[in-house]
Each structure stands twice: as structure tokens, then as C-alpha cells.
């Protein structure tokens, strides 16, 4: 059974088709990278996995550990173990990071029929995961993403991922806007969480990230489909040659 299996996915927004027959299978323990030109539908794919209802699924299915995600609400998917590190993390004024994280953990626990987390256990977890991504402790007392720098927002996404310990994490351009040190730290965070029971879908434009988070498989998404799949060397080739050569072969 796959961790994630996408079958012939067609999706549109406002009547405009974006994904046109996408297939993708990810096993537990694997890291898959998705690359592709701007506007090709990478964030669309990520949003659909997470359950953003702005997108209309016109055909196909998205299976998570064998069950269709399409029947689950976004918060239920989160409780099942699906996590999305957003390309553009959202600011929530007046809601402290701590309150937010505590609500997230407890709502997920509630959905699983578990008691709320103990205050001391929560604080211990926060400290541990903060250290992992070297997130400034001061950020924890601020409102969610408010006034965070671009890099801090991305690091904060990885912090949240570490806190929630998902089975499937989709990272949408978590590397963009990061300086070299931050990139290393984010990658370190991902690598520390990586194990044989979970999977990562890493969306990126830069092969550089893949030096730190070494993928098992690299896909190219263009024209609403996965048009090429290869090993990590494919990323190097894309870096050198761009996308035109595959797009041409795809059309041919």
C-alpha cells in the first residue's frame, strides 16, 4: 500500500483546468521531489492533497494509505497525518503561536479520542522542536506569522511540521527565500524527522535543496501532468538545461 497514490487527477479552479490526468505514487519512507515551471500546478496539487475546497476535482482520486482523501475535511486529513508547509504561510493577528500550536495538537488528539496534552509535555515538545529548527524562542510568543520575516515564516512551517509529526508532509517551496544557513537548518529538520514510516513530497525550484534533502525520486510537473520521473540526477540535469527540452519531448 502506498502512502500517497494519485490516480488520473483532473482539477480546475473557476472552471479553468489546472491538473489534467496527474499520476503519482509515494511509498512510506520515500522522499519525492516535484519540480516544474511557474504556474504548472505544483501548489495546486499541494492544496488539493490538503483539502482546499477552492479547487474542483473533476476526475480521479487521491488515496492516502489506501483511503480516499477526497471524502475527508481538511482538519480530518490533518488528524490522519497529512501536513502542508505552505508556500505562503498565513498571518493570524492576535493569536499567539503557542495558543495556535496547543489548539492544533489538542484538536488532533480530540479527533483521535485522546485527552488534551499536559502543559508540561507540551512545553517540553515546544522546546525540543524549537531547538531542532533553531527557531528563535521569541517567535513563539508572537502572533502566528505576524511580522515574521520570509525566512522565519518558512522555518516556522518546519517547526509546526516537527510539532505535529505527520505521516505525509508536503513542503511547498519551503526553501525559497532562505539563506544558506537557514536552508541547512530546515533540511536538517526534515532529515531528523525522516524515517521508514513517513513520506515527504518536496516541491522546489532549486536542485540546491536536494543536496541537503536527498530525494529518492524526482518528478517534473508540467502541463498539468507528471511528464518526467527520474533519480536525483534529473534535478541536476534540469538545473543545467532548464525545462524546454522535456517540454519539447513531451509534446513530440
Amino acid at each position: 500500500m502506498y502512502m500517497l497514490e494519485i490516480r488520473n487527477l483532473h482539477a480546475s479552479i473557476d472552471g479553468k483546468p489546472i491538473l489534467k490526468g496527474l499520476n503519482l505514487s509515494v511509498k512510506a519512507g520515500e522522499v519525492h521531489a516535484i519540480m516544474g515551471p511557474n504556474g504548472s500546478g505544483k501548489s495546486t496539487l499541494a492544496s488539493i492533497i490538503a483539502g482546499n475546497e477552492a479547487y474542483e476535482i473533476t476526475e480521479g482520486d487521491v488515496l492516502f494509505q489506501g483511503i480516499s482523501l477526497l471524502d475527508l475535511q481538511p482538519h480530518e486529513r490533518a488528524a490522519a497525518g497529512v501536513f502542508l508547509a505552505f508556500q505562503y504561510p498565513v498571518e493570524i493577528p492576535g493569536v499567539s503561536m503557542m495558543n495556535f500550536m496547543k489548539s492544533a495538537i489538542n484538536e488532533i488528539r480530540a479527533q483521535k479520542g485522546q485527552e488534551p496534552i499536559e502543559a508540561s509535555a507540551f512545553l517540553k515538545l515546544v522546546r525540543e522542536k524549537q531547538a531542532l529548527v533553531e527557531l528563535d524562542a521569541k517567535l513563539a510568543n508572537r502572533s502566528v506569522n505576524q511580522g515574521f520575516s520570509g525566512g522565519e515564516k518558512k522555518r516556522n512551517e518546519v517547526f509546526q511540521m516537527a510539532m505535529l509529526d505527520p505521516k505525509l508532509a508536503v513542503l511547498d517551496e519551503t526553501d525559497s527565500g532562505l539563506d544558506i544557513d537557514a536552508l541547512r537548518i530546515v533540511a536538517q529538520g526534515v532529515n531528523a524527522l525522516r524515517n521508514s514510516q513517513n513520506s515527504f513530497l518536496v516541491i522546489t525550484h532549486y536542485q540546491r535543496l536536494l543536496d541537503y534533502i536527498v530525494p529518492d525520486v524526482v518528478h517534473v510537473l508540467a502541463n498539468g501532468k507528471i511528464i518526467k520521473t527520474g533519480s536525483k540526477d534529473l534535478a541536476l540535469e534540469l538545473e543545467a538545461k532548464g525545462y524546454d527540452w522535456i517540454l519539447e519531448t513531451d509534446q513530440a
Partner: protein, 482 residues
Amino acid sequence: MPENQDQLLHDITNREYEHGWSVDLDAETLEPGLTEETVRFISAKKNEPSWLLEWRLKAFRQWQQMAEPHWGLLHYPPINYQSLSYYSAPKKKPELSSLDEVDPELLKTFNRLGISLQEQKMLAGVAVDAVIDSVSVKTTFKEKLAEKGVIFCSFSEAVQEHPDLVKAYLGSVVPIKDNFFAALNSAVFSDGSFVYIPAGVRCPMELSTYFRINAMNTGQFERTLIIADDDSYVSYLEGCTAPMRDENQLHAAVVELVALNRAHIKYSTVQNWYPGDKNGKGGIYNFVTKRGNCLGDNSLISWTQVETGSSITWKYPSVLLKGDGSKGEFFSVAVTANAQQADTGTKMVHLGKNTSSTIISKGISAGNSNNSYRGLVKMAPSATGARNFSQCDSLLLGSTCGAHTFPSIEVDNATGKVEHEATTSKIAEDQIFYLNQRGIPTEKAVALIVNGYCREVLDQLPMEFAVEARKLLEISLEGSVG
């Protein structure tokens, strides 16, 4: 989303009012109707001195000449003032030495309200003066307060025990003629709270009054008077709930605050009266006049209100800034859902030099409700160097509710500075989705976002009140997704 939203809306509109019940207290209630005789009856019942009876009668005659105001953005059928009863008192007017002697039904009421007059509050350091249907029943902590010279008692008691103070300040902030509802209240007010903080005293605990409208068909007309003498401080909490009934009930209170030199009064309200059903049937008509007078130099009066209840709210806690260097503050959260209507705001009237005022208002509307902010910032020619900052934000949940802002600014002194900011926003789908993605269901997500939106105001509330207010916000907005 829409399907889910409908379900949530269905859930909220079918939610029952948590405090909807009435207690069978053995009450003494006056027949409906309002004449001079009614006024005389009330005054006689309370054994009032003749000057107070005269004052009431003057107010009654004044009221007869006045017309109900209709400038608020509020719609309701005409109120028949002759069909209301103007006096209701628990029959066993107690002279109690311990809680054991309190009517058990009354204790049940307190417990349902979540108030305990017992050790809990003692530990929390809160003195409670509970007002049920107009007559103050039991006041705790009097001794401890008395040590400091603080007077905290029912209004009726103050009339008997401290007539000079009452006479000096009653009507000094809200005159009889001020408005229709204030005149009505002045004629028929039943009871309320009285506070006097002597010079130099910091009141050792938060003072708290819980109001509750219990008997059917009774208008409730509290009168509250708080006087803070030079260099004193007091924090006063007012919480309200009322039972659920099909007919509307009138509530027209008057609150007067007087701050002398360098005195600081902090007045907090959490109002959760029955808001009526989803079609607007029933609920409290809340027409309240609250005003503070910063009479002394460098005094400070701060109003904080969280208004989630009532079918109609007409309320403008205001500050007269007479003393030089005095400050007025207004922090408000007003939530309307279903068919609720709120027209609320403040008036900051700058008279003294270097006076300043701050207005932070957060209006949240859901369902078919209407929520208006109405404010006046006035700087008189004498108010040299006056400053005001106003921030009025409206948040809309859904597309069938209304938010309106009516700010008036009158500056008659060239040195006056006024800053006004206003925003209207819808709760953002991407914020909800972000929280959903972290496992938080939409209902909880909305509550979290709204709580964050109101944080500046909620942070002003004393701890135990802030917790209650957060819970209330969550309950009042359950399922109202934009």
C-alpha cells in the same frame, strides 16, 4: 464548503441559549403601569428621603415630555411603557449573617450563573454585590473593604447610610434630562450598586456585580454610582445574564462614574443577556447610559466592554474629560449574530487642557445581524493640547450581516489632534484553511481568529473575566463562517 457552512449555520441557529431558565423566587411584583403613583410607591417601598422622591418625580415629569430616541440604526416594535411592571423584589428581603440563610432557589441561581458567593470568590479576591430583580440581596467582603474605608453597597443602602455622598453626585454625570431612558431610569430606578473609594486608597480587590433579570415582564432599571476620591484606584466588574423568554424585556440602566484628582476607575462589562431566537423573537432591549466624569486633574476612566448578548443594544459608555491632563479610554468588543442589533460606541468630550482619549472598537457581525459603531470625539475651545486616537474595526462573518461606522469629530481648538483609523474585513478563507490544515475544525478556527482579532480589548479585562469573555465569544459565534 457551502454545504458544510449550511450545516454549521444550522447548528448555531438551533443552539439553545445556555442561561435560558427562570427561577421560581418568591417575588413581590408591582402591577404593570407607570404613573406618579408608581414613582411614589417605589420611593416609599425604599423608605427614601423626600429630596430623592422629589428628584424622581422631577425626572418622571421630564420623561413624560420626552420622546423615545430613534436615531440609532435599530428596528423594533414600539415599547408600551404602561404594560411593564416597575418593581419586583424577592419577598424575603434578607438581613443575613451567613449564606445558610439565603433562599436556596437564589443560591441555585448563583450556581447556574457560575457565581459562587463562597470560598471560591474569597480566594479569587472578588467581592460580589448581587442584584436580582432590582433588590440587592447579599454583599460580601464589606468588612475587609470597610477597613480601608471603601464603601461598596447597594444603592438603596447608600441612600440610607451615605445620603450626603449620594445627594452630591447623583445625576451629576448623567443629568435627569440627558436622554429619554436616563430620565425613565431616574424616575423608577430600583436598585444598583454604590461605591466610594476614599482619597489615597487602592481598592484591595476587584468589585463585582452580577445583574440578572428574573421576574417576567419586569423592566430593570439599575442605578450605579462610583466615586473615586483623590489618588484612589478601583476596578469594577459587571457581568450580566438573563433568562430566555418569548417576550422582550426592557433594561435601562444608568451608570455614573466620578474620578477626582489623579483617581483611576476601570469599569469592565461582560454582557451576555438573552439575545432572542434566530428570528429575533424575545431577548433583552438594552438601553443603557454609562458615563464617567474625569472631574479631577490627571484622572483616568477606562471602559472595557464585551457585548455578546441582548436583542438590542443601545449603549455609549462615555467620558467627560474635565480635569487637566485627564484620560478617557474605551475598549469594546460587540458581537451580533442571528437577528441581533447593536448600536454602540462612545463619546469622548475633551474640556480640560492636555486631555487624551483612546478608542478601540471591534465589531463582529454574523447571521442577519446589524452592528454599528457610533462615536463622538469633541474637543472644546478650552481643550488646548487635547489628543485622541480611535481605531474602529469591523469583521463580517457571512454576507447577510451588516457593519456600520458613524464617527463624529468636532474639534474647536486648533491644537487638538485626532487620529482615526477604521477597517472593515471579512474573515479570510485562507486563515481558516491554514488552521484547518493544522487539524483545527472550522468552528474552532473561527473562534480562534475572532479571539485574536479582539485581543487588544480582551487583554484589558481582569484575568477571570477574560477567560469568561473568550468562552462567550466562542459560543456566540459557533458556526458563523464567512
